[in-house]
Structure formats: C-alpha cells, structure tokens
C-alpha cells in the first residue's frame, strides 16, 4: 500500500468525493486518477467513507424555522430611531424655550435698568411737578407730549438720550445750585441763594436786544383824561 507521489492530486481527492471542485480542476484530477492506481484505490476508500456517513436523519426544516428568533433589525431599529428623534425634539424645544425666555428677560431687565437710571434723579421733580403740571413729569418718564403729533413723539427707546433734557443744567452739574420745579426757596442753602441772586442780577444788567420778531402784544388804546 503506497501513496501517490503527486501530492497536489492526492490532496484533491477528498474534494473530488465531496463534489466541491470546479469543473477544470475536477477534469484534471479525474484524468490523473484514471492513470494512477494508488489514487484510484484511495478514491474508492474515500467514497466508501462518504457513503457510510452520508446517512443522517431527515431534518424537518419548517420545524427548525418555526423555532428561530425573529430578526432584530426590522422591529428594533425603527423604534430606537423614533425614540431618539422624539428625545431630540424635546431637547430642541426646551432649548428654544430657554433661549426665548432668557432673551425676553434680558430685554426687560435692560429696559428696567434704563428707566431706573433716570427715575432716582428725577423722582423728586416728578413728584413735585406733577402736582402743578402733569406735563412736567416728562423729565422722569417719557410721557407723550400732547402738543406734538403722535408720530413725532419721542419713541421709548430714546429715553436715555432724551432723559436729561427736562432736567435743569443744575442736575448734570452738581456744583451749581439745584432748583426743583415747584419747590420753594427754602430748599436752597445760603450759598445757593447768593449764587442765584447774582445770576438774576446779571440777567437784569444785560442789555435787552431788540427783538427781530414783530411785537404781537395787544395794542391798548390810549385813554386820555379828557375822554372820560
């Protein structure tokens, strides 16, 4: 009992029996076996082995298939995606709400800061002026001017720039005496009174320039004593 020296052909014998060779290789091996008694003998043994172990109980495929698990990708994947998308939706909505509310809060607080920046300085004036002239309160809050058409009124956003306007120069220069609207002279100390009196005297001493505008004061008729 000898083995064939052609190792390549001999190695192909089990595959020839199992039927796994391609057509070309199969033809080559069969040609070799036809001329090689050792390989022919071994091939016969291999065929016997295969025949002896070829029998096996028949398997009921439908029973096996019925016991198989369900594929996971079909059902599980879309649910997981839907969950993720739903979760993302909530997160996006929450983020947008936070941004909106935060922005509104900032805007309101900014507005309030502008208002309060003016209020403390003018509150006394507003309180005293509102007693005599409601329009005098315009120095504190940007109330609409009744004499100005609505479309030419100062918008609320101009509060900061227009706020100092109604306030007297004394407010912006604390060194000078402050005179509150509607307030009494009792509010002023002696130095302020002196300064104020000096200013009034300067005004009186100043020469009055002739007005370019025509005198629109009513001309009263001169009544002589004899006319009576």
């Amino acid at each position: 009992m000898f083995d064939c020296a052609n190792v390549e052909m001999r190695e192909r014998l089990p595959e020839l029996v199992a039927g796994t060779l391609d057509a070309t290789t199969r033809a080559r091996v069969e040609e070799h076996v036809a001329a090689c008694p050792e390989c022919a003998s071994e091939l016969e043994t291999l065929r016997l082995v295969r025949a002896a172990f070829a029998r096996a109980p028949k398997i009921d495929a439908s029973r096996v298939v019925a016991s198989l698990p369900r594929p996971r990708t079909v059902v599980a994947a879309p649910q997981r995606n839907a969950k993720v998308i739903r979760w993302l939706d909530w997160r996006i909505a929450a983020a947008l709400t936070t941004i909106t509310v935060g922005g509104l809060s900032l805007a309101v607080s900014q507005r309030m800061r502008d208002v309060t920046a003016v209020l403390p300085r003018d509150s006394a004036q507003v309180q005293s002026a509102s007693a005599t002239d409601p329009n005098a309160a315009g120095g504190g809050l940007p109330l609409p001017n009744k004499s100005v058409p609505h479309d030419r009124q100062t918008p609320p956003t101009d509060t900061r720039s227009s706020a100092p306007e109604p306030v007297s120069p004394a407010v912006t220069s604390p060194a000078k005496p402050q005179l509150s609207v509607g307030g009494g002279m009792g509010d002023l100390d002696d130095a302020s009174l002196q300064s104020l009196l000096g200013a009034l005297e300067e005004i009186d001493r100043a020469p009055v320039a002739p007005s370019a505008e025509p005198d629109r004061s009513p001309v009263l008729p001169v009544i002589k004593a004899g006319d009576r």
């Binding site: 009992m1 089990p14 595959e15 029996v17 199992a18 039927g19 796994t20 071994e42 043994t45 291999l46 016997l48 082995v49 295969r50 025949a51 002896a52 172990f53 070829a54 029998r55 096996a56 109980p57 028949k58 398997i59 009921d60 495929a61 439908s62 029973r63 096996v64 298939v65 016991s67 198989l68 698990p69 594929p71 990708t73 079909v74």
Partner: protein, 187 residues
C-alpha cells in the same frame, strides 16, 4: 437593491449572505432556504461525531443559536463552517453534561435506544459497516477532521476553524486518519 431582494423569491442561486440579509429584512422564506441548504450537512456531521440521540434537536439548536447571533457572523468564513463550529460546541457541551449526569448515577433508560442504532441498521452493506468501524476507532479530533474533509469537502483552513486548531495540524490529522483507515480496512 433592497427592493429587488424583497421582490424576488430566494432560490438555489442565492448566496448565504443574500439569504441572511433577506431574513434580517423579515423574509422568512430566506430562513427556510438556509435551513434546507445546511441542515443535511449538520445532521451528517452530528451523526459522524457519534451523536446517537436528538440529532434533529441539535441541528435545531444550532440554527437557533446561529440566527440569534447572526450579527457576529463574519463573512470571511463560510456560513456552513460557522454552523459546524456552533454545532460541534453544542455536541461537546451535551457530552460533558451527559458525562456529569452519568457520574451522578442518573442514567436515563431512554439512552439505551438511540438513533445511532437506527442508523446502524440502515447501513446494511458490510463494506460500509467496516468503514464505519474503522473511522470510529480514530481519535475524536482525527475523526472530526477526516469526516469534515471527506464528507463536506472543507479546506484545511476551514477545518482548523471548526475544530479550533491550525491549518497544518488539520492536514496532519487528515493524513494520519487516512493511513489508519486504510490499514484497518486492507491490512
């Protein structure tokens, strides 16, 4: 591609990977085709390993386990090789469990009547009976390698994957087994 896969019925020409993809997409016919294609070889392999009982149950368990972890199947080996690997592990686990059970002294009477005995009856011809006897005298590893090579036509690389060995060792086991069978049959 998917539409084409869905519309066409799986046939003999469909590859294992195509059938797996179809089954994953919910096509149960693809699973049927895969079972019909590989179940006979698995049953044969189980019988050749000396499995005497519950061959159908083992084949079924093999498919259940394989389809349950189909994501771990790597396409670099054939599906049949992978199935053989799973089945072999199942059989070895069963044998260990049986051995422990027998050591505990709880031998089931049902073990006496086996499917292997039925197979022996089927093997009527004397030559086949002698071959079976010769192969059964081989060591377990030699028998596994030899029958995977002769019955299923697996390459040494695939056999090494199934039995957890190397390609060279599988080749040596095969040739030793071949020599032993020849001696038992003809000497």
């Amino acid at each position: 591609m998917n539409r084409m896969v869905q519309d066409n019925e799986p046939n003999e020409n469909s590859t294992d990977l195509e059938l797996i993809a179809r089954w994953s997409a919910g096509d149960e016919r693809a699973a049927t085709r895969l079972v019909e294609r590989h179940a006979p070889a698995l049953a044969r392999f189980a019988a050749s390993l000396g499995q005497r009982i519950d061959i159908e149950e083992i084949v079924q368990d093999t498919f259940v386990r394989a389809f349950g972890s189909i994501d771990s199947f790597r396409a670099d080996s054939s599906l049949r090789t992978w199935l053989f690997t799973i089945e072999r592990r199942l059989i070895l686990d069963r044998r260990r469990a049986e051995r422990r059970r027998k050591e505990d002294g709880t031998i089931d009477d049902a073990d006496a009547a086996t499917e292997f005995d039925a197979l022996d009856e089927i093997v009527a011809e004397e030559a086949e009976a002698r071959v079976r006897s010769a192969v059964e005298r081989l060591s377990r590893l030699q028998r596994e390698v030899f029958l995977l090579r002769v019955n299923e036509g697996l390459s040494y690389k695939e056999i090494a994957e199934v039995v957890g060995s190397t390609e060279g060792a599988a080749r040596v086991h095969y040739h030793n087994a071949m020599r032993a069978v020849k001696e038992l049959l003809y000497v």
